[in-house]
C-alpha cells in the first residue's frame, strides 16, 4: 500500500500542508505526494490510501489545480468501490455562503462513484487564528488511528 497525498491548490497553501502531512505519514508507510492536476482519476486504486488536501476558490469553486482532475472524474466516471480517502479542506469562513464548498464538492463526486471516506473531514479556516499545518498534522494522526482500528 502506498499512502498517496494529493493536493488541489491555487496559492500553494494546500501544497505546503500536503508536504507537512506527508512527513507525518512517512512514519507509517510509503508516501507519495502529487498535485491533483497531475493525477489521473482512472488510476485511483483500492490498494492505496488517498489523503486529499484541497482549498476553495471563487465562490465555492475548486482551486485551479483540482479542476482538471474533477473534470476527468466526471467524464470518466471510474468505479471507485473500495477506494479509501480522507480529505482536509482549506477555506475561509469570510466567504460565508461558500465556506469550504470546493473540497466538499470533490468529496461528493468521489462518494458518488463509490469511494469511502475515512475519519473526520479535516478543515482549516483562514479567518481564524489556527495554524493550518498544526491542525492538519493533528488531523492526519487521527486518520492513521482510525485506519489502524479498521
Amino acid at each position: 500500500m502506498t499512502i498517496r497525498v494529493l493536493y488541489g491548490t491555487e496559492s500553494g497553501n494546500s501544497e505546503m500542508i500536503a508536504e507537512d502531512v506527508a512527513i507525518v505519514l512517512e512514519q507509517h508507510g510509503t508516501v507519495a505526494v502529487a498535485d491533483l492536476q497531475d493525477t489521473d482519476p482512472g488510476s485511483l486504486s483500492p490498494a492505496d490510501l488517498y489523503i486529499i488536501i484541497c482549498s476553495t476558490y471563487g465562490e465555492g469553486e475548486l482551486p485551479a489545480s483540482a479542476q482538471p482532475f474533477v473534470d476527468r472524474l466526471v467524464e470518466l466516471r471510474p468505479q471507485l468501490d473500495g477506494v479509501h480517502y480522507a480529505i482536509f479542506g482549506l477555506g475561509d469562513s469570510g466567504y460565508a455562503d461558500s465556506y469550504s464548498k470546493g473540497s466538499e464538492y470533490l468529496a461528493a463526486r468521489l462518494d458518488s462513484l463509490g469511494a469511502v471516506r475515512v475519519g473526520e473531514y479535516g478543515r482549516h479556516d483562514a479567518a481564524g487564528f489556527d495554524d493550518a499545518s498544526e491542525i492538519a498534522t493533528e488531523w492526519v494522526r487521527g486518520i492513521i488511528t482510525v485506519r489502524a482500528a479498521a
Partner: protein, 548 residues
C-alpha cells in the same frame, strides 16, 4: 577544487615531439597528455606550458588561461608579453563542462599563424567538484512573485545560493502592504514563505534597494542569475485635466497608506464627506469596503489606530464608485461585492446604467441595491458606464465630471478622489523595471514581468515559470566562473542589510503591541522597523539603546 584540463592541440604536441623539441611545464598531465591547470578563482587558472622546437626558434607559451564572459560570449584568454591575449572563443558542447575552442585572429597570431583564424584547438574541460562550484541566484523583491520563484527554485536546485533582496526592512511586498488589512486569511501565504528563510536556506537581505545601494549591473556580475520581482508600485494616471489637484490620490499610494507602508504611512489624508473612487476592479472594491467600515468591522484587522483616528475617522457621507465599463463587464469578483453588502448601516444605490441579469458580479451588484436599509450612516452610489472626463477644483478637488451613457455630462461632487485604474513602474526611468527582454541571466517575475493583473495564484504560476527558466539557463552554463554571490554583495553595501531573524523580532513586537481587536500594530517608518528588530542605526542614542 576545480581545474581546467586541456591538451592545447594534439597535433602541436606531436609536431613538437616529431621535430625533437620539448614541452616544458610544471603542470600535472593526464593520461592523454592534457595539462591540468588548477583554478585560481573567478574563472582564472594558473600554470604555464611551453612548446619549444627548432632550437628555440619556435616557442609557444600558454600561461595562466582564463575564461571570461563578454556580451554572451565566452573567451579563453592567456597571459602574453604585452598583457592578456584573447586566444580563442569557447562554445559549450553536449558534454557538461566541455568547451569547443576556435582561434581568434590574435590567437592565430600567437601561434605564429601556424594555424588559421577560426581553426580548432583541442576541446578543453572544466571539472568542478560539486561542493566547490555553487549556483548563485539573486531575486530582487520579496513580494509573492519573488517568494514563489524562490520556492520553485529551491525545489529545482536545493544546493544553490538563493537570496532575496528587499528595499524595505521587512519582507512580503503587497502581502503586507497591499492585500487588505481585513483580509488576514489571505495573508496566510506568508507561512509558506517563512519556511524559505527558516528551513530552506534562502537568505533574506532586507533594507537594500537595487538601483540605489547596489546597481543592477553589479548584481549581475555577482550572481549567475538575477530575477527582477519588484512589482509595479506606481499608480496609473487618469490622463485627465485636474488630476494633480490636492485631494486626488492613487489607489496604490492610498492602500499603502492604510496598510502602514513606510513610504506613505505618515501622509495626511482629509477625505471629507464625499469620496469618489474611480475604477471597478478588486482594488477599488477593497478601498470602498475599507472606507465604509465602522470600528466593529475592523476587528481582526491590522489597521493602525492612528490611521483609524485620522484618515478613517468616519467623516464620509457618500462614496461614489465610477466605472467606465458597464456593470456586466465589471472586473471585480462577485464575492468582493457580496462582502460589501455584509457591512451594516450602508445604503447602496446604482445610478446610470442599472444592472440587468448577467454575470455573477452583476447579480451581486443588484442584490446590494435590493437590500433594505433604514438609518443608513453612509451611502454608496455605484455608477457604471460613466467615463470621467475631468477632475474639477480650484485649490483642491471639488468634483469629477463624467460622461453618462445617454451622451450627457454630469458632475459628481467630491471632497476626495481615489483612482484605482491600475499600476505602472514607480518612475518611467526606474532602473530595475523589467521590460527589457530577459537575456544572459536576467529574468523577471510577477507584476514586473506580466503587468499589474491577477492575484496570488498568478504570481505563483509566474514564479514557477521564472524558476524553470532560471533552472534551464543554469543548466546551459558550463560556467567556469564561480560568482561571488552574497558575500561580495554584503561587502559592497553602504549600510548593513537585515536578515530574516530581524523580521521575526519585528513581527513579534508588532503582534505584542496590537491594540484590542487588532492582530498587530505596524511600525510606520523604516527607522522604527529597523530599531524594532534591533538594528543599530548610526545615530548614537539608538546604538546605546540597542547595546544596553
Amino acid at each position: 577544487m576545480s581545474e581546467l584540463v586541456w591538451g592545447v592541440k594534439a597535433s602541436l604536441r606531436s609536431y613538437v615531439s616529431d621535430s625533437e623539441g620539448r614541452i616544458e611545464t610544471p603542470l600535472h598531465r593526464t593520461g592523454d597528455g592534457s595539462f591540468v591547470f588548477p583554478a585560481a578563482g573567478d574563472g582564472r587558472f594558473s600554470g604555464e606550458v611551453r612548446f619549444i622546437a627548432h632550437g628555440g626558434m619556435m616557442d609557444f607559451r600558454i600561461c595562466d588561461p582564463a575564461l571570461e564572459e563578454r556580451e554572451g560570449n565566452t573567451i579563453l584568454t592567456i597571459d602574453g608579453d604585452g598583457g592578456r591575449i584573447d586566444l580563442a572563443t569557447a562554445r559549450p558542447t553536449q558534454r557538461e563542462g566541455r568547451l569547443e575552442l576556435a582561434l581568434t585572429r590574435a590567437g592565430a597570431g600567437h601561434f605564429g599563424d601556424f594555424y588559421p583564424t577560426g581553426g580548432a584547438l583541442d576541446d578543453l574541460t572544466i571539472t568542478m567538484a560539486a561542493a566547490v562550484r555553487r549556483d548563485t541566484i539573486a531575486i530582487v523583491g520579496s513580494g509573492p512573485a519573488g517568494c514563489y520563484t524562490a520556492q520553485a527554485l529551491r525545489r529545482a536546485r536545493p544546493e544553490a545560493e538563493v537570496v532575496i533582496i528587499e528595499r524595505l526592512p521587512v519582507p512580503y511586498g503587497l502581502v503586507r502592504y497591499g492585500i487588505a488589512a481585513d483580509h488576514q486569511g489571505t495573508k496566510n501565504v506568508t507561512k509558506q514563505f517563512d519556511r524559505l528563510f527558516e528551513r530552506d536556506g534562502v537568505q533574506f537581505v532586507g533594507n537594500v534597494e537595487i538601483g540605489r545601494d547596489v546597481t543592477i549591473e553589479r548584481l549581475r556580475t555577482l550572481f549567475d542569475a538575477v530575477v527582477i520581482a519588484t512589482g509595479l508600485p506606481g499608480d496609473r494616471p487618469l490622463g485627465l485635466p485636474g488630476e494633480s489637484l490636492p485631494g486626488v490620490h492613487g489607489s496604490g499610494e492610498f492602500t499603502r497608506h492604510v496598510n502602514g507602508h513606510p513610504d506613505d504611512a505618515s501622509a495626511r489624508y482629509e477625505l471629507g464627506s464625499d469620496v469618489v473612487v474611480i475604477g471597478a476592479g478588486n482594488v477599488a472594491i477593497d478601498i470602498v469596503r475599507l472606507l465604509l467600515q465602522g470600528v466593529e468591522e475592523r476587528a481582526g484587522s491590522d489597521i493602525h489606530p492612528h490611521t483609524e483616528a485620522t484618515t478613517l475617522s468616519g467623516t464620509i457621507d457618500r462614496i461614489t464608485l465610477v466605472s467606465r465599463s458597464p456593470v456586466s463587464e465589471a472586473r471585480c469578483d462577485a464575492a468582493m461585492v457580496k462582502e460589501l453588502g455584509r457591512v451594516p448601516g450602508v445604503a447602496f444605490v446604482v445610478d446610470g446604467d442599472a444592472p440587468e441579469a448577467g454575470p455573477p458580479v452583476a447579480q451581486a451588484i443588484r442584490e446590494l441595491t435590493a437590500r433594505p436599509v433604514d438609518d443608513a450612516r453612509l451611502t454608496v452610489s455605484l455608477r457604471f458606464g460613466a467615463s470621467p472626463v475631468a477632475v474639477l477644483g480650484e485649490a483642491s478637488v471639488s468634483g469629477v465630471e463624467v460622461s453618462t451613457p445617454d451622451g450627457g455630462y454630469t458632475v459628481i461632487p467630491a471632497t476626495a478622489v481615489i483612482t484605482a485604474i491600475g499600476f505602472t513602474p514607480a518612475t518611467p526611468s526606474d532602473s530595475v523595471s523589467a521590460d527589457a527582454e530577459p537575456d544572459g541571466g536576467l529574468f523577471a517575475a510577477g507584476w514586473a514581468h506580466f503587468g499589474p493583473r491577477g492575484a496570488l495564484p498568478d504570481a505563483r504560476n509566474d514564479g514557477k515559470r521564472a524558476a524553470a527558466a532560471v533552472d534551464s539557463y543554469l543548466a546551459s552554463l558550463f560556467l567556469a566562473v564561480q560568482r561571488e554571490g552574497i558575500a561580495a554583495l554584503r561587502a559592497d553595501l553602504p549600510s548593513p542589510a537585515v536578515d530574516f531573524s530581524h523580521w521575526r523580532r519585528v513581527d513579534a513586537e508588532e503582534r505584542a503591541a496590537a491594540s484590542p481587536g487588532r492582530v498587530r500594530r505596524k511600525f510606520l517608518t523604516s527607522e522604527e522597523l529597523l530599531i524594532a528588530g534591533g538594528y543599530a542605526l548610526t545615530a548614537s542614542p539608538v546604538t546605546e539603546r540597542n547595546s544596553a
